[in-house]
């Protein structure tokens, strides 16, 4: 039968130990780090674990030939269901491709395989004075391929920019089965910016098999500040003032009282338990500039009623301050059985009012909500605490989450700042984009993947498939004439 033939062909490429199809082995691949009750779960028919780019390309060509769908996957830490094989088929897991192939400090780049764990790159280069700037809190587990696919962010993206700004070139397998390099160490390769388009496309238009990433020189000086505030409003007021004062910290992170409680219970990071919110601020750059900005920030924090501002005096203290932040999601286990992590973003001046709204939603729905987030970017992460087995909780959580999205869009924000759209939010895209906008996005997808077999069902709303572009445009025209299509 076809699936036996397919199996044999795949084994001939990746070897018997590079293929999994025992339902028991497939279990871990049926979901990612998103809540399966929200984003869903589904088993792939086969998991393949290639070790070379050519193997990935071969697998894709076989998938094409057998007309089965392909879902790329890194470490599975994604929070939007992007790596779920929603239609079964072949899952291409890149975690056996972990080599650092080249490091070039003068030209400031490294070439790595997609399964390399994010932190492993900086661990390798930092003794030489360079680092890979995108630092998602999951950086001890997530892969660089996953970072590229999701255009991931992290605390230091405030100053250094998100993943997209750090990808110089990619080797990718396209849905056509071609294995090509796009971009490269020299900037501005003529032609359309396929590197830029690939980043953030969530594995729907190509599988990354190598990434040429930018390395950033370590700054001359770094200060980490921790400032407790009486309320979340006063802390968010300080954030707005810091940005408006023209200071660009390397990172500017906020944690609210509930988060502080969880973190302190779990690790003792040194955040005052009686604070309403804590700001964690990192400033880096030239020595004098760091000193000057530190002073300014201390003043601004005090103006906004910070009880104190502690400046870490040793690497150990810096690490401790950061550990609390980076492990905050994990620490939530101390407070709740389940949590739903929402990811939204608003213009930074809208933070105070947005946090107020989140608080109201918490009260309206009678759900505890913890806030730990990238304040400098306006990128919120409300964590809605709940119990999956308590009847009615899940519906409440979903409704509360959607209400937040609506609010954020209303004040000029977006429905995902860094975790991606995946399966989870694709039907919310209409909050931000018109049918015409979505038709253009569907056109991009179609240009690469006319048969829609790469990571199906992700990013674009149901019903905006390729065959439907014309009908989308048609609908858009009707809508403009006041005719609503259901």
């Amino acid at each position: 039968m076809a699936s036996q033939q397919l199996r044999e062909r795949l084994v001939s490429i990746v070897g018997p130990d590079g293929l999994l199809d025992d339902p028991y082995d497939l279990l871990v691949y049926e979901y990612d780090a998103s809540d399966e009750a929200i984003a869903g779960s589904h088993q792939p028919d086969f998991v393949v674990l290639p070790t070379t780019s050519e193997q990935v390309a071969e697998v894709v060509r076989i998938a094409r030939e057998f007309n089965v769908v392909v879902t790329p996957r890194g470490a599975g830490t994604g929070l939007a269901g992007g790596a779920i094989a929603s239609q079964g088929g072949i899952m291409v897991v890149l975690t056996r491709m972990t080599k650092i192939l080249e490091v070039n400090y003068l030209d400031r780049y490294a070439v790595v395989e997609p399964g390399l764990i994010n932190l492993d790159l900086s661990v390798k280069t930092s003794p030489d004075g360079y680092f890979f700037a995108p630092d998602p809190s999951s950086q001890k587990a997530c892969t660089i391929g996953g970072n590229v696919a999701n255009n991931s962010g992290g605390p230091h993206c405030l100053k250094y920019g998100v993943t997209s700004n750090h990808i110089l070139g990619l080797e990718v397998v396209l849905p056509s089965g071609e294995l090509i390099w796009v971009g490269g160490s020299a900037p501005e390769t003529p032609g359309y910016d396929l590197t830029g388009v690939m980043v953030g496309s969530e594995g729907t238009i190509g599988i990354v098999t190598k990434a040429m990433v930018r390395l950033t020189r370590n700054p001359e000086d770094i200060n980490v500040l921790m400032a407790p505030f009486p309320t979340i409003e006063s802390a968010s007021g300080a954030v707005s003032s810091i940005i408006a004062a023209g200071i660009l910290p390397a990172a500017l992170e906020m944690m609210d009282a509930l988060t502080i409680e969880a973190v302190e219970t779990a690790f003792n990071a040194g955040y005052p338990r009686d604070a309403g919110a804590v700001l964690l601020i990192e400033i880096d750059g030239l020595r004098e500039a760091v000193a000057e900005s530190t002073e300014e920030i201390v003043t601004i924090c005090k103006q906004h009623d910070a009880k104190e501002v502690r400046v870490a005096t040793s690497q150990a203290e810096r690490d401790l301050f950061w550990q609390g932040r980076k492990a905050a999601f994990g620490a939530m286990g101390r407070l709740t059985k389940n949590y739903y992590l929402q990811d939204t973003v608003v213009p930074r001046t809208k933070l105070p009012q947005t946090l107020k709204r989140v608080d109201e939603i918490s009260r309206d729905y009678d759900l505890k909500i913890a806030n730990v987030f990238h304040a400098g970017d306006g990128n919120l992460h409300p964590l809605i605490l709940f119990d999956r087995y308590k009847p009615g909780d899940l519906e409440k959580v979903l409704n509360a989450g959607t209400e937040m999205l609506h609010y954020c869009v209303d004040v000029g924000g977006a429905i995902s700042g860094e975790h991606g759209i995946g399966l989870e939010k694709k039907d919310h895209l209409t909050m931000m984009y018109s049918t015409d906008d979505l038709a253009a996005m569907a056109g991009l997808k179609q240009s690469f993947d006319p048969t829609q077999y790469f990571n199906p069902d992700k990013v674009l709303p149901s019903g905006s498939g390729c065959g439907e572009i014309d009908s989308l445009k048609e609908h858009a025209r009707w809508e403009k004439m006041g005719i609503h299509v259901v």
């Binding site: 071609e178 090509i180 003529p190 396929l194 830029g196 004439m481």
Partner: protein
């Protein structure tokens, strides 16, 4: 947009008499004169123009400030020029959020004047900021030397509205500095030379204006010495924001220097307390083999220096000069420059600007140095010297004598072809201009 405009599509010939028109002789592209040049005064009017052009199966070329119209293959067809300079409103400026939304026809110098009043800046360079429009900058997608410090314009674009070939505005991204909602449509249009849609407006991230700046200039007898100095500064932790090396001919133009030297120019931007030490340290790094080291030690003088360096790169009339840009990297630039100099050994007055911070080499030489039968050979040799090549200006006859001003067709070209087919199926936007003559 009225529903009438959606249902009743008028052809370009039916429309044209009602549209604001311009003198066609001023809108030549590679010596081709269009039948009409229109200057729409609103987005709705632009939509009508596009629909009309499509209905008549004409070919249109968008114009911003017209400073970089030399970039691209000669158009396969060119019936209508669309001057976008009247679509130039600042739609919003949220100083405290450090974002703004501007229409494509806004000029870079005007925007920076407005931002300067709030001590903010859009840190992109253009040879002629008084003319260059933000839409044109984006469509060309080539960043200047300050890319080293602030990244390319591409990374400052957080949202975009584009007029499709259906005459419909579609948007991507948003108004926030971090956003992964949907595909990155901004990067699709950045650098696409307007061949997939006309950029109508864009949302930009802006930054606090550096409080002060200095520029260190050192003169050297050889490229080797300048290269050594450049490498040391680049690998330091001084965080300089631009670093270029110029050959003696380019140095003379940028500095009025009577002397004939290679030069390195290093831009330092920081608070006053830091910038002095920054410049001093840079001086120490570059001093060892230098003939002379000077520092522009006021912000104004430093800015003026960079205007001059930019002007030295400015495109001259295509009849007079050939400008070519090569992709390279800091570690390869010396070798790239060596090969370029070797290839152009017969020509006089060859200017070279090596943008070490970006990894780009610009060369300009008088067009009379080559003829049509030689140009393909020169071009091939130059393209072998770098990772990629672009002819930014050349007389039309020289451009026509080579296969493609962007060099070899890239791997995965079929993906580019299908993008063009999807977004511009009737080939109405700058047909033939972009890579592979798409």
């Amino acid at each position: 947009m009225s529903s009438d405009a959606d249902t009743v599509i008028r052809t370009f010939s039916e429309l044209v008499d009602e549209l604001p028109q311009r003198e066609t002789g001023e809108y030549l592209v590679d010596s081709i004169q269009p039948g009409h040049v229109v200057r729409p005064e609103s987005v709705d009017q632009l939509a009508e123009v596009i629909r009309g052009v499509r209905a008549d199966r004409l070919a249109a070329v968008p114009w911003g400030g017209g400073t970089q119209m030399g970039v691209g293959n000669p158009p396969a067809r060119y019936d209508v020029g669309i001057d976008l300079s009247a679509i130039n409103d600042v739609l919003r400026y949220d100083a405290d959020d450090m974002t703004m939304s501007v229409q494509a026809g806004c000029r870079l110098a005007d925007l920076n004047q407005m931002l300067g009043e709030h001590r903010q800046v859009l840190p992109v360079d253009a040879a002629l900021p008084e003319r260059a429009t933000i839409g044109g900058l984006t469509a060309v997608g080539s960043s200047g030397p300050r890319r080293l410090g602030y990244g390319p314009l591409r990374d400052l674009i957080i949202g975009m509205s584009v007029m499709s070939t259906d005459g419909v505005v579609t948007k991507g991204g948003g108004q926030v500095v971090k956003n992964v909602t949907g595909f990155d449509m901004m990067r699709l249009h950045h650098g696409a030379l307007g061949s997939l849609g006309i950029i109508v407006s864009m949302n930009l991230k802006i930054i606090p204006k550096p409080q002060s700046e200095r520029t260190v200039i050192a003169l050297f007898d050889s490229l080797d010495d300048a290269d050594q100095a450049a490498r040391e500064v680049l690998q330091s932790q001084l965080g300089v924001t631009a670093l270029v090396v110029t050959n003696p001919e380019a140095t003379r133009e940028a500095t009025d220097s009577a002397r004939s030297n290679w030069a390195i120019s290093v831009r330092c931007e920081a608070p006053p307390s830091a910038v002095v030490r920054q410049a001093e340290r840079v001086q120490e790094y570059v001093a060892s083999n230098a003939q002379d080291v000077t520092t522009e030690d006021s912000t104004d003088a430093s800015q003026e220096r960079w205007n001059r360096i930019g002007k030295a790169l400015e495109q001259r009339p295509a009849q007079e000069d050939v400008s070519i840009r090569l992709g390279s990297t800091a570690s390869k630039l010396r070798a790239t420059a060596g090969s370029v100099a070797h290839t152009l050994a017969g020509a006089e007055d060859v200017r070279l600007t090596l943008d070490y911070g970006s990894g780009l080499l610009y060369t300009r030489f008088p067009a009379r140095a080559v003829n049509e039968s030689e140009f393909q050979v020169v071009f091939d040799q130059l393209s072998g010297a770098g990772d990629h090549i672009t002819v930014s200006t050349a007389p039309a006859n020289l451009k026509q004598s080579i296969q493609d001003v962007f060099g070899a067709t890239p791997a995965g070209f079929s993906a580019l072809e299908s993008l063009k087919e999807t977004f511009d199926p009737d080939r109405i936007l700058s047909p033939g201009r972009t890579i592979g003559k798409l």
